[in-house]
């Protein structure tokens, strides 16, 4: 499935929607989106991933990059992740560095 990564800024939150399969081939695309969000002064990142079907270490590395690039105060939200997305994140010990939720709730996420 073709990978897609789109950005929408909303009240300082970078809403990045990922769909398809995020592997070593498509990771660079994800990385550019993160850089774009940083360029727009995002205070927070929300990854909207109900349609994300696959993630490998390449994608996880971009997450680490995102946090390191944008500074310590940036919270990363993972919204609507399926099991096969959460498992590698858990195995890598990255889960407790993220906030997770089933749906995007603007009232909690956008009060920066």
């Amino acid at each position: 499935m073709a990978f897609e990564s789109t950005l929408e800024m909303s009240n300082g939150v970078a809403k990045i929607t990922l769909s398809g399969e995020l592997d070593a081939g498509s990771a660079p695309q994800f990385k550019s989106t993160v850089e774009e969000a940083a360029g727009q002064g995002a205070k927070r990142i929300a990854l909207i991933v109900p349609d994300l079907e696959y993630i490998s270490s390449a994608g996880l590395r971009v997450l680490v990059f995102a946090r390191q690039k944008m500074g310590k105060g940036i919270d990363i939200y993972l919204i609507g992740a399926q099991d096969q997305i959460l498992d590698p994140i858990k195995q890598s010990g990255l889960l407790h560095s993220l906030y997770t939720a089933e749906t995007y709730d603007a009232s909690t996420i956008e009060t920066v």
């Binding site: 592997d23 081939g25 490998s56 270490s57 680490v64 390191q68 099991d83």
Partner: protein, 758 residues
Amino acid sequence: MMPDIIRDPIIVQSGEDQLGSSLSAIRKYVVDSCKEAGFPKEVINRLRLAVDEIAANIMIHGYDEAGLQGEVKASAVIDDTMLTITLEDSAPFYDPRTRPAPKNLNDPLDLRETGGLGVYLALKNVDKFDYEYIDNKNINRFGVKRIHAENQKGNGVFKLLLRSRSETVDNLLREALPIAQYNLDVVTDDDALLQKLQHEVVDLILLDLCATDAPPLELLTTLQGNTQIQSPVIIVTDNFDIEPILQCIDKGANDFILLPHKSELLQLRIRANIERAALQQAKMKSLTQIEDRIKRIFTIDPAVDAHSPTLNIDAFLHHVLGEIKGMYNADAGTVYYREGSRLRFAVVQTDSLGVTLGGNSDQPITFAPLPLYDDDNVTPNTRNIAPYVALHGETINIPNIYTTTKFDFSATKVFDAENHYKSISCLAIPLKNHRNEVIGVIQLLNAQGPDGRIVTFDGAKQGITESLCAHVATILTNRLLVQQQMLMSKIEHDLDIGRQIQRTFLPTVFPKLDGWEVASYFQPAREVAGDFYDVFLMPSNCLGLVIADVCDKGVGAALFMSLMRSLLRAYAMQQYTEDWSVAFEPSRGGTSTQISPSTGSIALANAIHLTNQYVSTNHGDLNMFATTFFAVLDPITGSLQYINGGHCSPLILDKDGHVKAQLEPTGPAVGMFSDSNFEIAEAILEPGDSLFAFTDGVEDTRNPFGKRFKEDGINGLLQPAAPSIQHLLHRVRDRLENFKGDAVQFDDITMLGVRREL
């Protein structure tokens, strides 16, 4: 033994522009191979990730970064025990097993290094990984063990969480636990463990004792105290030092495992602990559900509030049946309520047929009650199960009514045939109260298992169900007693009203007439009598005198009496009559003569005729009537005009107490027939004369030997002459009392006397 399945391999190309499609193709190949091997979704995802990570490394680090271009071949073999995916490439030698795992797996994102993460994920998500370098080719083999159907946990895997800092322990466990069945997650410290458990539920927790200084007692205490965490805990150790193990078990650890451990035994121990914990939880849940049921039966709905005095028994039983059926997930149930020597059907409910009779529903029950005894009223009815339970007071559990020899279920089988139903398992429980009296029976049919199949009724719940039924029976008994008491109170209250009504109707104070004395005596047999008397002033200063005896007793008779009394009085006050001839009929008996119409006789005629007509017409279906003597006395002349409607003859006595006349009946009892004829007769009370009237209760009084007073008679009491009529009445009363002794008084005793003074 199945032959190996060798799938056709695929070959993909390296190169930056090929990266995406090549990896995608390899992933698809892995997924297809997994599906062919019958692996569940979780396993497919894990193997896919493992192979993809290594493939990506080969493409990027093996070829691209070395400035090379080449192929990667993926092949798959499925044998009895394993699926093996093999990746072959001709990039420079590289053994992934030499890559150290990332050191800081649990560090916060900012501090993480990502080197080695891909290989780590690959090795972690397979059961077996092999590497070989043959003929200048890197051979990476990924193996996932296949699981036989009966060992499969539904469609999923067991989730295990290991707290350990030792890679050795991690690897030992991983080798022993195939990923197709076990998902082993690892944390390195207590805090990480607790944090993980906040977000997810695992089937089992493993605590490594090997590489630690002290046993994790504090952690165990925390886990025990946290009611959200229900997972069993196994201590893992390589050192059979009993002391720390005992301490851990003391603090709540469920089991311990000595490593290294044969794979099959390790899996067995793990599964046994998981199953034990699951069973425990199911039991607790079941107990809580039963407690809730009990609460529901005895509190909530006010319509079926067991403590309400106006409890509707059938509605309450309906409610109880619903809850008890629910406890066993039974399809059908009947509640029988004992009435005398029979079991009445109170509620019948069959869910699968959509039938509800009795209880709260408006569908009546058409089945005849079950007799507890055979026709001889002695032999117990042991043919049907419900009467048997009612008589013996014990619970009966039948696994299958079609194969049992114990009871006669022919009626049930007939019902089955007629309604396309199959009654199989049956449970009958007595409703036995605190006095060990069986006041009813609950019979359930067809308990259902979780999959809907019919099962035997669970014997483990029998104790609780019997207690529940005993409680229901006791409550019902108490409510019934209260209801009876309330009913009695109501009846007494009504009787009291009747008594009060009567008292106001029966005068004890009489109009004062110069030269005349009036007296009465009234002793009802029961609370409310059928006798009455009346004395009232009529127009033109005549005195109306009535004595009567209603044909019945009790509340109905008393009400009838008050009706008659009111009618007589009202009509007596009427001045005119429509039929003058009534007043001129020749009379019978005594010293009466043909009379001429006068106001008194008109009133008399009116009173009796109209009352008679009214009662027989309007209350004819009650068949109530009263023997009635009604006299009108002219106090100036002493003339007594009277109608005697079937009443025992009053006496006229002279001043010495001799009987001058007996005033015989002049017509039938009042209220019998609307066309009855009543004649007026006349008598005279000379100075010194008395009129003595009474009801048949006097003559019918019996002594303890059954002899009637009449035979001795009043006659002996009339002389010597009493100084007053009151005196005479008392004399008769005393004599009656003596005569009666302690025998029961069956009839009301009423006497009315009038005396003309000398």
